[in-house]
């Protein structure tokens, strides 16, 4: 049978539940702009009703607790997409710095190469002219410098990325430590049936930061999240973080080793670390190798053409360019071997005024190098590759950004704090609180009436 005391107790529980709900709303509003925060809701449940055998009467509300609203699947997709975006961004940043060197300007390799052939052709109209000869030397020097500059841009970019690898690994280790430290706390909360709440939010945010650095696979276990890299190298197991290490490899580059010392460099493909390694070890190495091949074969072809002729003093043509014996490093070290215009092997027969061999030198422009293309075409392919790599990285980064926006919208639609909604909740819970308070005051009046009724009887 219902009593005033029961009703008062129901009203007090309602006040407490509404206070809790107001507190959650307050916390949601306070964290509306906190990155990684998942909105919380107060979980209300009907109190067990009182049954007197004939009828059942409700006993009000019970505040069960607070629940963060999450979507693990979307959270996971965001992590994956962040890895792709960071990888593409790492590549894009490097390519954007490399690209100007291969953009047509007054001193790119293509322009300097044309200038050199023009100067040779100009010399053919007056092979004894020292000013025309000097123009050939200057053009040759400029071309060598253009090769040197392009090579230096690529290698310094590579060196920068190499430093980035060490920095990324150090950041990854810090993050995995922090993630591992949160695992026992979350496991404890879950064991007691509670929601991970803000600690889970913190961990998710750390995993997201980690995803920006490398590929991460997340598995939920009783001991919290287990994290592995894309190829299965464990990073976090329970409360333990397994630090990655770096060491200088035989190629002079920083290699990434797992806890057991196994080299996992090649398996890292996404995230900033993956993008950095791919750009360092594949993209730039590939471009450098082609640039070296071009410099070496072009230099050799010009030297071979020089050797077919004779200089102004009738001597067999000596090397025009100094090129190293190995192809690697050719673009970095190619330099002009002759210093005097009279050393240009213009003559085909040893007589001073002959220009016969300049045709051989000029023919290098239209002759395929051993790699299969003419020097101009080889350089043009290089430009095409630089352009394609940059534009692909740009497109990948753009696609990932747009995809991330969609995913974040989806996550936000689940977990994000809407100020309008919280304002409405505020009104709802305020009204509910006021109503419950009114119940308390009504019951208080009823109690007074009841007590007065007793007093009147006694009097």
């Amino acid at each position: 049978m219902a009593s005033l005391s029961t009703s008062l107790s129901t009203a007090v529980q309602a006040l407490m539940a509404d206070t809790g709900a107001l507190q959650v709303t307050n916390n949601n509003i306070a964290n509306a702009s906190t990155p990684g925060y998942s909105r919380q809701v107060a979980v209300f449940q009907e109190a067990t009703p009182t049954n007197d055998g004939t009828s059942s009467v409700g006993n009000g509300v019970v505040l069960e607790g607070y629940q963060s609203v999450r979507d693990e699947l979307v959270q996971n997709q965001i992590q994956q997409e962040t890895q792709a975006q960071s990888g593409a961004n790492a590549q894009l940043a490097s390519m954007q710095q490399i690209q100007p060197t291969f953009t047509t300007s007054t001193q790119d390799i293509g322009t300097e190469m044309s200038a050199m052939f023009s100067s040779l052709s100009s010399l053919s109209t007056n092979p004894s002219s020292s000013s025309a000869g000097q123009a050939v030397l200057t053009a040759g020097q400029n071309l060598a410098t253009a090769f040197n500059t392009a090579s230096s841009v690529l290698t310094s970019q590579q060196a920068g990325l190499n430093t980035q690898v060490t920095q990324d690994v150090s950041q990854i280790n810090q993050l995995t430590q922090q993630i591992a430290a949160l695992n026992p706390q979350i496991a404890e909360l879950k064991a007691s049936g509670q929601d991970g709440g803000t600690i889970q939010d913190q961990q998710n945010q750390l995993v997201l930061s980690l995803s920006a650095l490398t590929s991460v696979a997340v598995t939920q276990t009783d001991n919290g999240e287990t994290l592995t890299t894309g190829n299965g190298t464990p990073l976090v197991v329970g409360s333990q973080s397994l630090a990655l290490q770096t060491t200088t490899g035989t190629d002079g580059m920083q290699h990434v080793l797992d806890k057991n010392g196994t080299d996992i460099t090649a398996s890292l493909t996404t995230g900033d670390l993956g993008g950095t390694i791919q750009t360092r070890d594949h993209t730039i190495t590939g471009l450098l190798s082609q640039l070296d091949t071009l410099a070496n074969q072009f230099g050799s072809a010009i030297n071979a053409a020089q050797a077919k002729g004779f200089d102004q003093s009738g001597k067999a043509g000596q090397n025009f360019f100094n090129i190293p014996t190995t192809v690697a490093g050719s673009a970095a070290s190619i330099s002009l071997a002759i210093t005097d215009p009279t050393q240009i092997a213009s003559s085909s027969d040893g007589s001073a005024g002959s220009n016969g061999n300049l045709a051989n030198l000029s023919a290098v422009q239209k002759t395929a190098l051993p790699a299969g293309q003419t020097p101009g075409d080889a350089y043009s392919s290089l430009v095409f590759q630089v352009g394609t790599l940059t534009s692909n990285a740009n497109a990948e980064s753009g696609a990932a950004t747009s995809s991330l926006l969609q995913l974040n919208d989806r996550l936000s639609s689940v977990s994000g704090v809407s100020i309008d909604q919280e304002s409405t909740n505020l009104i709802t819970f305020q009204t509910a609180y006021e109503a419950a308070a009114r119940v308390v005051s009504t019951i208080q009046q009823l109690f007074s009436v009841t007590l007065a009724m007793g007093t009147a009887a006694a009097g």
Partner: protein, 401 residues
């Protein structure tokens, strides 16, 4: 879908529209659709090839410009030679007239001598310091007066040159013989001395390269003396060996009206198109001393006028006519080359236009389109900003009292 906050979407939209605006602005301000390889990798790569072709066309055009005046100079020199030969024929024809006195013929011979000098001057025509009929050796006059004896500047009575004196390795001494029309070149290899040179010259004389009796000896003054027996033709000796010093004609040994071609026989070709080259310098020997020998025929006419019979003068005049015909024929390929160069110049002009328009279509922005894109991008950007300004400040709180 529940929307918690529109801020990220609005920020993304603003960034996108600003990027589009920046691209449109860049295209309009530079006039280029491709400003860097990533804008269109294939176009940027084709541009590299196209620019190289443009540079070649520019250079070919410049080559035509520098070769053409040289060829025109040569043509005008040959034209003057033709005029000179015509006047020599007139002189010869009047000399062949039996009524002419010996004194008149002598005067005619002197005038013919002037004609020869003028022909030699034309044959030694230079253009911007280069002798147009010198073959490859364009820095020295190709026709030099012949002498019977040349002596070295090195060597004195006190310090005479000796047969065993080593010569400078790599140095070249040439003996050009007007009688044989050939040049013997002696390039010193290490260990050779003056005696080696003498032996080589004797060998060349017996081989017929030089006239019989051409010798190299050390004379009473201690100098190297290279001389020939051929008193009507003579030789020209040149040397770049510092041991000998330059070789100079001995005073009084000059052979009247005899000239030797000391230029080179080879020609230089200059590229004026991807597969077009023109021979630029004409070897003077081919033009003036071979075939119907221009200089020889004039020399013959002078000799005939000085001491020949009417018939001999007539024959010599006929020889000069033959030389005139020969030179006129030789002029035809030169005229053809000049006309080819003119054609090539206009072809290159067209080619340049074609390449430029190719480059514009490769990387150039279509300006009306770019301008439209720019105003479109401006409009989009303003719309995004206006929408943001309208949407962002709106919250329920504005309406709650």
């Amino acid at each position: 879908m529940r929307v918690a906050s529109m801020v990220p979407d609005i920020q993304y939209a603003m960034q996108k529209s600003q990027q589009a605006l920046s691209v449109a602005l860049q295209q309009v301000s530079t006039g280029l659709r491709v400003n860097q390889p990533s804008d269109d990798p294939a176009a940027a790569a084709n541009m590299v090839v196209s620019l190289a072709e443009s540079a070649n066309v520019d250079q070919y055009t410049s080559n035509v410009s520098s070769v053409l005046p040289q060829m025109q100079t040569a043509d005008s020199a040959i034209s003057s030679v033709v005029t000179s030969l015509s006047s020599a024929i007139t002189l010869g024809t009047s000399g062949a007239n039996g009524s002419e006195t010996a004194a008149n013929r002598q005067a005619l011979a002197t005038q013919t001598g002037s004609v020869l000098s003028s022909v030699i001057a034309q044959a030694n025509t230079s253009f911007q310091g280069a002798y147009v009929f010198g073959g490859l050796s364009s820095s020295t006059p190709p026709f030099a007066p012949a002498s019977t004896n040349f002596t070295s500047t090195q060597g004195t009575v006190l310090f005479p040159l000796t047969a065993t004196l080593p010569l400078t390795a790599g140095s070249v001494t040439t003996v050009s013989d007007a009688a044989t029309g050939k040049t013997f070149a002696f390039t010193v290899i290490p260990g050779e001395n003056i005696s080696s040179l003498s032996t080589a010259i004797a060998g060349a004389a017996s081989a017929g390269i030089l006239s019989a009796g051409t010798t190299a000896t050390i004379n009473a003054n201690g100098q190297l003396s290279i001389s020939t027996n051929s008193s009507t033709a003579g030789i020209v000796v040149q040397s770049n060996d510092p041991v000998l010093g330059s070789m100079a004609a001995s005073p009084g040994t000059e052979v009247a009206n005899a000239y030797v071609y000391v230029g080179k026989g080879n020609v230089n070709s200059v590229q004026v198109g991807d597969s077009t080259s023109v021979a630029v310098n004409i070897p003077g020997d081919q033009l003036f001393t071979s075939g119907a020998n221009v200089i020889g025929s004039l020399n013959g006419l002078i000799t005939a006028l000085q001491s020949g019979t009417t018939a001999q003068i007539g024959a010599a005049t006929t020889a000069v006519s033959a030389a005139l015909n020969y030179v006129s024929q030789q002029r035809i390929p030169l005229d053809n080359t000049i006309s080819q160069l003119n054609d090539q110049e206009s072809y290159l002009g067209q080619e340049k236009v074609t390449l430029t328009s190719q480059q514009t279509s490769l990387v150039g922005a279509n300006l009306p389109e770019a301008a439209t894109n720019l105003s479109q991008a401006e409009l989009t950007n303003s719309a995004v900003l206006a929408a943001a300004a309208k949407v962002l400040p709106q919250t329920l709180l504005d309406f709650l009292k």
